[in-house]
Amino acid sequence: MISQVFILSSKGDHLIYKDYFRRRNHYNHKDLYFLHIRQGGLYWVATTTVGSSPFAIIEFLNRLAALVKDYCGSLSEKSVQMNFALIYELLDEIVDYGYIQTMSSDVLKNFIQTEAVTSRPFSLFDLSNVGLFGAETQQSKVAPSSAATRPIQSSREQGGKSEIFVDVIERMTVVIGSNGVLMKADVEGEIRVKCYMPSCSEMRIGLNEEFSIGKSQLRGYGAAVRVDECSFHQAVRLDEFDSHRILRLCPSQGEQTVMQYQLSDDLPSALPFRLFPTIERDNGGRLLMYMKLRCDLPPKRSPLTFVCLISLSQELSSPDQSAELKPQSRAVVWQIARFAGGTQLSALFKLEVPSLSSASMLEVGPVGLSFELPKITATGLQIRFLRLSPVQPGPSQRWVRYVTHSDSYTIRI
C-alpha cells in the first residue's frame, strides 16, 4: 500500500509529487516508511504506512521508472519535467488509492491519453541523449543511439518509424588470481527487446542453433554456445525453442527483457584482457609497478571505454593514454582511449611511498578493469534472424545490437 510517490531530481527538488490519501494532517513521520531507488539520475521515492512488502514497493518503483522511460522516451530531469501531465496520468492509472492496479503497458495504452513531449532531436551537445552506444553514430549503417530513446506512444499518431531493437547485453564478472589463474568468471546476459511497432502480432527470434542450456545438453561437435541457466519473459512461447532455438513472442510496446541467462566459470572464448603486473621496490624506496596489458580480442574489435584502476611519475607506451593518481581513493587510474584487438600496452608507475616496507607491498592491489565491448558477446550468443509476422506494411526497421560490459573484472596482485 503506497501513500505517496515522489520523483526527485538529483538535488532533491520535487519534480512530481502524488499523494494517494491526501490526509496530510494525519501523518506523523513515525508511522511513515520511505523507500527509494535511484534511476536515470533521479530519486524515485515511495512512502508507505502499513507494513507491506518492501519488495512490492521496490519492484513498483523500478517498474515505474521503466514505464516512464517507455512513455517519455528517456529518463532525465528534463524529460520528466516536460511530461508531468503524462506521468501524473500514468500514476493515476497505475495506482488507485495506494493499491497497484496494473503496470502492463499493453493495458495502460488503452487509458493513457496524454501525448509525450520529446526533447530536441538528437544533437551531439546534448549529453543526456548519448546512450551506451554513442560512438556508433559515426558509422552510417548504424541507427543513432537516440533512436531507441523515444516515447512508445508517438509511433501511434505521428507515423514514427516502426522499428524494433533487439539488444544482447552481457556483463562479465571475472576474478583472476595473483598467479594468473582464472578463479571465477561469470557472465550474466539478457536479450532486451524494445518495440515501436504498433501492430506487431508475432516476432520470432532465432538464436544460434548450437545454443545449449546446462552441461549435459551439448549438441554437435562445433564450439557450442552454452549457458548454465536461462529464464524467459512470460510472454515468450517456447514451442520452437527445443527444436530450432527460436523464441516466439508478441512484443508489447516499449522495453522488455525477453530472456535472461547466466554462464559461470566455463567461458567458451579466451578472456578479452590479460594483465601481467610486476611490483618491485627500487633503491630509492619507490614502488615500481610495471603493468603489461594485452587485449586478446580479434583485431578490429576494440573496446570503447577502458579504465584500469590500480590501487605514480608515469611512463606510458602510447600517447592515447592517461593516468592519474587519486589520493582519496588511493588508486591509480589508467585510462586508455583506444585499444585495438591483438595489441599490447604497457605502463610503468613509480610511486613515492613514505616509509615503504615489505609489508606494504602486500597491500597493493587488486586491479579492476572496466570496459565496454560493442559487437561482442562473451558467451558467443548470436541472433540468427529476426522475423516479424504479419509482414509489416510500410518501412520497418529491425536492429540488433550486441554489447559486453565489465561488471567486475578484477585481477589480484
Binding site: I37, G51, S53, I58, L61, N62, A85, S104, S408
Partner: protein, 961 residues
C-alpha cells in the same frame, strides 16, 4: 501577485470555447498539483468541464477533482450527477472510471450514493467494472468505517467471483476491511489457489500473503515430527504416552495445504520480484522442512536484479541461512563480494558467507576473506575482520589459523584494520586461554602507534586480564598511561582505571603509587562515569576501616574468570518477523505489522472448504443465465477406435447418470429431464436432416446453378472476411447489384436454406480456440470451436464442439455439469464432444470446470459476438420493412461509416438478416457502397450493446480484408 494573475489567466482559458485552450489550461493546472502547489481556487472553473466530451480533458479534470473535492465539498457535489450518468454507460471503461473517481471523492454526504454504486458495480457484467468496485470498497471504508457490515457483504459476493481480474482486488479489500473474517475464505480457498497463476502479479502478492496467514490458522504444522522428537528429549518421563499418540496419528498433510504449495510453486518463475519473494516466504513458513530448498534457486536469481532488490533479498537470505545452512551452501559462490557492490551489500554478503561457513568450505571462505581485507572500503575491511573472528569462534579447527592471520594484520599500515583486528583478537583470546603471552606482548609493542580508542581500550583490558602472563610489561604500560591519562578518550580512561586496579591486586609492590596517582586523576575527571568508577575502585581495593566487608573479595570480584563472548550474527533474532515484510527488513515492528499466527495444535474442520458440485451458475440471476452447460456425448466423427469405444461408454454412463449423480436431488432431476429433452430433439433433428440432405443431392439439377457458382466463390471469400463473426453469411448475403436475374436470387436463398445442415458443415469455420493448454492440463488439452449449427439440445443455445486430446499421461476427463460421462483417454487419442451453451446474447464468458479423476481445471468459453447470431431468411421487402420499424425506435440503431475498405470489396453491397440465438431478437445488417470509396454499414437491432460490438468487430474485419 504573479501567481494569482496566472490563475486568472488559467480561468479565462478554461472558460473559453476552444478545447485546445482548455486542455492546455488543465495541463498547467495538473502541473501545479504535481509540483505540490495549490490550485484550489480554480475549482469552480474546472468542475464545469467534468462532462466534457474530450476524453483527454475529462481525465485531467478527474485528476483535479480527486485532488480537491475534499476541500470544496459543496462544489464537488455538482459533478456527482455526471458520474451517476456515466455509471450506466454501455462502455465498461467509462463505467469503471466513473466509479473510480466517484469513490475517490472524499465527501461524506455521498456515502449512500457510493454504497449503491459499489453494489451495482459488483454485479456488473464486465469483470473490469467488478474489479473497480472491489477497489472502491477500501475507499468507502476509509471514508466511513460504519459501512463495514454492508461492505463485507459485497466482499463476500465478490470473493465468489470467478474472474481472475477480480480476485486480486477483492482480496486486497478483504485484507483492508475484514482480515479477521477468515470464514469468508473457506469456500473460496480452492478456487483462489487454482486461479492464482492467472491473477495479475500485484494481486498474486496480496493473495499469497493472505493465504499464508490462512494456512497457518487452518492446517497443522508439517514440522510436527521434529517437534515430537524434541519433546521426547525434554519430557522423558511421560514420553511414552505421547509416543503412542503420535504413532497413532502420523502426520498427513491436508490435501488443501498441498494444493496451495503446488499451485504457488510455478510462480517462483515470475518476473516480478515481489511475487517470487512472496512464494519464498510462503514456502518458508508453510512447507515441510525438506521442501523449502525449492525456493533457493529463485532467490539466488533475484541477486541479479537491481541493487535495492539485492539488498532486501540478501537480508532475507541472511535470516534463512542461519537456520538452514544447507539451503544455500551449493550457491556459496553467488555470495562472493564483487568489486562493484555497494558497501551495505558487501556487508550483507559477508554475513551470509559467515553463516554458511563450515569445516568443509572454511578454507575457501577464508581465502576469499583475505582479499576482502585488502579492500579500500574501510568499513567493509573492518566487517571482514569481524567475520573472520566469527568464523574462528564457530569452527574450532581454524581458530589458530585465524588468530595468526589476525596477528599478521596487526602490522597493517591501515589503522582501521589494526584497530578492528585488536578488538577481534581480544574476543578470540578469551575463548583461547592457552597462548596469550606472545600475542599480548606483540600488542603492547603496538600500543604506542594505535590511536583508535576502542583498540587502545581492548589492549588495556587484555593487559589487565592476563597481567600475570606479562608481569614485566603490564606495569610499564600502566606507567605510560598515567602520563597520557588526561588526554585519553573516556573508554580508554575506564580501562586504565581497571588495569590499575587489577595490577594493584596482583603486583602492588610496583604499581601502588601509579594506581593511586591514576585514581586521583580519575577523581577529578569531567566525566561522571569515570569519577564513579574511580570512587568504586578505590573503596574496593584500598583497605580502610569503612569498607572492610567487600574489599576482602576484591580479588575475586576483579579477577574472576570471565565467560568468553559469543560472536553472533546480527540476524539471529530476525526470524521473529515474517520473511519479506517491512518489519523484517527494518528489524523492528512496523506499524500495522500482523504477526503470523502459529500453527493450531488440532486442525479445524476441513470440510468447511468443500464446495457443492458446480451447478449451472447464475451470476446475475435476474438478468441472464451465464452458462447453462449441457454435455452429453455426441461424437461427430468416428475416426479412431478409442473414440468409438468412448462414445459407447459414455452413452451407457449418461443413461444411468441420473442414478449415480452425486449432486443434489434437484440438479439430478433437472439433468434427467434435460436428457429426455435432448433425446427428443436429437431425434427430431435427425428427421429433419434427412430430407434436407436429400434435397441437397438434387441441387446440381436445379437449372442455372452453374451460373451461380462464381458467386458462390465470392461468398466463400466473404466468409473468410467475416470468419470470426458470421457463420451464415452465405445464406443471406445476396448481391444487390445483380439486377439481371431477380428470380434466381430468391431461389438461391431458399435453396440454401433447404440445404442448411449440409452447407454449413462444408463452410464451417476452421478456427479453433484453446480451452485448456496441455501444459496446464497436465497432458490433457482441450480446444473448442463453434460449428455454427443450430444447437441440438435447445434452440436458444449456441453449439460448441470440444476436442479433447491426451498427450502425456493417462487421465480421465469428464465434464461436471448436467451429466457425468466418464471416458478414459489413451495417450495420443482424442475425442470430440459437442455441447450447447446459452450465452443469453452476451459475450460474457461461460465458465465451467473440466474434471478429470485427479484434477479440476477451470476453463471458460468466450464467444465472439458473431457466434451469437443465427441467420434468418427474409425477402428484401421484409428486410426493408423490419429495418424501417427498428429505425423508428431511435435507441436501436447504430450507424457508422467505414472508410477503410480495400479494392477487393468493390462489388459488395449486401444485407444480412439474422436473429440472436437466445432471445430471437432481430439483427439487420446492411452494407451499402457509396459513391466515394467509403461504405455505409448499418446495424439495426434492439440489442444496443450487441450492435456496437458487432459494428466494431465488422469494421475491423473489413479493414483487414
Amino acid at each position: 501577485m504573479p501567481s494569482v494573475l496566472r490563475n486568472e489567466d488559467l480561468k479565462e482559458m478554461l472558460e473559453s470555447s476552444k478545447e485546445s485552450l482548455k486542455l492546455e489550461a488543465m495541463k498547467r493546472i495538473v502541473g501545479l498539483i504535481a509540483k505540490g502547489k495549490s490550485a484550489s481556487e480554480l475549482f469552480p472553473a474546472v468542475v464545469k468541464n467534468v462532462a466534457s466530451k474530450n476524453i483527454e480533458l475529462k481525465k485531467l479534470v478527474y485528476v483535479y477533482l480527486v485532488r480537491y473535492a475534499e476541500e470544496q465539498q459543496d462544489l464537488a457535489l455538482l459533478s456527482i450527477s455526471t458520474f451517476q450518468r456515466a455509471l450506466k454507460d454501455p462502455n465498461q471503461f467509462i463505467r469503471a472510471s466513473a466509479l473510480r473517481v466517484l469513490s475517490s471523492i472524499r465527501v461524506p454526504i455521498i456515502v449512500p450514493i457510493m454504497m449503491l454504486a459499489i453494489k451495482e458495480a459488483a454485479a456488473d457484467l464486465s469483470p473490469y467494472v467488478r474489479k473497480t468496485s472491489a477497489h472502491a470498497i477500501q475507499k468507502l471504508y476509509s471514508l466511513d468505517p460504519d459501512q463495514k457490515e454492508q461492505l463485507i457483504e459485497v466482499i463476500e459476493k465478490l470473493l465468489k467471483d470467478k474472474s481472475t481480474l477480480v480476485a486480486g482486488s477483492v482480496v486486497m479489500a478483504f485484507e483492508e476491511v475484514c482480515p479477521d473474517r477468515i470464514d469468508l475464505i473457506h469456500k473460496n480457498y480452492r478456487k483462489l489457489c487454482n486461479l492464482l497463476v492467472d491473477v495479475e502479479e500485484w494481486g498474486q502478492v496480496v493473495i499469497i500473503s493472505m493465504l499464508t496467514r490462512y494456512a497457518r490458522t487452518q492446517f497443522t504444522s508439517p514440522w510436527m515430527e521434529v517437534r515430537f522428537d524434541e519433546n521426547k528429549a525434554f519430557y522423558d518421563s511421560d514420553s511414552e504416552e505421547k509416543k503412542d499418540q503420535t504413532e497413532a496419528k502420523p502426520y498427513v498433510m491436508d490435501p488443501d495445504h498441498r494444493l496451495l504449495l503446488r499451485n504457488t510453486k510455478p510462480l517462483l518463475q515470475s518476473r516480478n520480484t515481489a511475487v517470487v519473494m512472496a512464494v519464498a516466504q510462503l514456502y518458508w513458513h508453510l512447507a515441510p522442512k525438506h521442501e523449502v530448498s525449492i525456493v533457493t534457486k529463485s532467490l539466488v536469481r533475484l541477486l541479479r536484479s537491481h541493487r535495492e532488490v539485492q539488498y532486501i533479498v540478501l537480508q532475507n537470505i541472511a535470516t534463512m541461512s542461519i537456520q538452514r545452512k544447507g539451503m544455500f551452501e551449493p550457491f556459496i559462490k553467488s555470495f562472493y563480494v564483487r568489486s562493484t557492490d555497494a558497501t551495505h551489500i558487501k556487508t550483507l554478503k559477508l554475513e551470509i558467507l559467515t553463516n554458511l561457513a563450515n569445516e568443509a568450505n572454511i578454507s575457501t571462505i577464508l581465502r576469499e576473506f583475505q582479499t576482502y581485507v585488502k579492500s579500500q572500503d574501510k568499513a567493509f575491511a573492518a566487517a571482514t575482520i569481524q567475520a573472520i573472528g566469527r568464523c574462528a569462534t564457530n569452527i574450532s579447527e581454524v581458530t589458530d589459523t585465524c588468530l595468526n592471520g589476525l596477528v599478521l594484520l596487526l602490522s597493517n599500515r591501515d589503522e582501521a584494520v589494526v584497530a578492528e583486528s585488536i578488538v577481534v583478537i581480544k574476543k578470540l583470546l578469551q575463548t583461547q586461554p592457552t597462548q596469550h603471552g606472545d600475542i599480548i606482548k606483540h600488542m603492547a609493542k603496538l600500543f604506542d602507534n594505535v590511536t583508535v580508542p576502542m583498540a587502545r581500550a581492548s589492549i588495556l583490558w587484555l593487559m589487565g586480564e592476563y597481567c600475570e602472563k606479562v608481569p614485566k610489561i603490564a606495569p610499564d604500560v600502566l606507567r605510560k598511561m598515567a602520563k597520557t591519562f588526561t588526554a585519553e578518550e573516556d573508554i580508554v580512561k575506564l580501562q586504565t582505571v581497571n588495569l590499575a586496579a587489577k595490577l594493584y591486586l596482583t603486583n602492588s609492590k610496583q604499581t601502588k603509587l601509579l594506581t593511586q596517582y591514576i585514581l586521583n586523576l580519575g577523581k577529578y575527571d569531567q566525566n561522571y562515569d569515570i569519577r564513579d568508577r574511580t570512587r568504586f575502585i578505590r573503596q574496593l581495593i584500598v583497605p580502610n576501616e569503612k569498607s572492610g566487608a567487600l574489599s576482602k573479595y576484591a580479588r575475586r570480584i576483579l579477577l574472576a574468570p570471565k565467560p568468553a563472548p559469543v560472536l553472533e550474527s546480527a540476524f539471529k533474532d530476525r526470524d521473529r518477523y515474517q520473511l519479506g515484510t517491512l518489519s523484517h527488513s527494518l528489524n523492528l515492528k512496523a506499524t500495522g505489522y500482523q504477526e503470523l499466527p502459529d500453527w493450531p495444535a488440532v486442525a479445524p474442520d476441513q470440510s468447511v472448504r468443500n464446495v457443492e458440485i458446480v451447478e449451472p451458475q447464475r451470476i446475475k440471476a435476474d438478468l441472464f443465465w451465464v452458462s447453462n452447460v449441457h454435455c452429453p456425448c455426441v461424437c461427430t466423427e468416428s475416426g479412431s477406435e478409442s473414440e468409438e469405444e468412448s462414445s459407447e461408454d459414455s452413452e451407457k454412463t449418461s443413461s444411468d447418470s441420473g442414478k449415480s449423480s452425486s449432486g443434489s436431488e434437484k440438479s439430478s432431476s433437472e439433468s434427467e429431464s434435460d436428457q429426455k429433452k435432448k433425446k427428443k430433439t436429437k431425434k427430431a433433428q435427425q428427421k429433419k436432416n434427412k430430407p434436407a440432405a436429400d434435397r441437397y443431392a438434387e441441387i446440381p439439377a436445379v437449372s442455372g446453378f452453374g451460373s451461380f457458382l462464381p458467386k458462390l466463390e465470392f461468398i466463400t471469400i466473404m466468409i473468410s472476411f467475416f470468419y470470426d463473426f458470421f457463420f451464415f453469411c452465405q445464406h443471406c448475403l445476396f448481391p444487390q447489384n445483380d439486377s439481371k436475374n431477380p428470380t434466381f436470387r430468391t431461389s438461391g436463398i431458399s435453396l440454401f436454406h433447404m440445404s442448411f445442415q449440409v452447407t454449413t458443415s462444408s463452410f464451417g469455420p476452421l478456427k479453433t480456440y484453446e480451452l485448456l493448454h496441455h501444459m496446464t492440463g497436465k497432458g490433457l488439452s482441450a480446444k473448442y470451436h463453434f460449428p455454427r449449427q443450430p444447437c441440438l439440445y435447445q434452440p436458444s443455445m449456441v453449439a460448441v464442439q470440444l476436442f479433447f486430446s491426451q498427450t502425456k499421461q493417462i487421465s480421465h476427463p469428464k465434464c461436471v455439469s448436467g451429466s457425468d460421462n466418464k471416458k478414459r483417454l489413451e495417450p495420443g487419442a482424442s475425442v470430440t464432444v459437442s455441447m450447447g451453451i446459452d450465452f443469453s446474447d452476451s459475450t460474457q464468458a461461460a465458465n465451467f470446470q473440466l474434471c478429470t479423476k485427479e484434477d479440476q481445471f477451470s476453463v471458460s468459453i468466450q464467444p465472439a459476438v458473431g457466434e451469437l447470431l443465427m441467420p434468418s431468411t427474409m425477402t428484401e421487402q421484409d428486410f426493408c420493412k423490419e429495418q424501417g420499424e427498428l429505425l423508428c425506435d431511435s435507441n436501436s440503431v447504430s450507424r457508422n461509416e467505414t472508410r477503410c475498405l480495400t479494392h477487393r470489396m468493390f462489388l459488395l453491397s449486401c444485407r444480412f438478416g439474422g436473429r440472436t440465438v437466445s432471445s430471437r431478437a432481430l439483427v439487420l445488417l446492411s452494407l451499402e457502397l457509396s459513391e466515394s470509396s467509403g461504405a455505409l454499414l448499418t446495424i439495426n437491432t434492439e440489442k444496443s450493446v450487441m450492435a456496437s460490438m458487432l459494428l466494431r468487430d465488422l469494421k475491423q474485419a473489413l479493414a483487414q480484408a
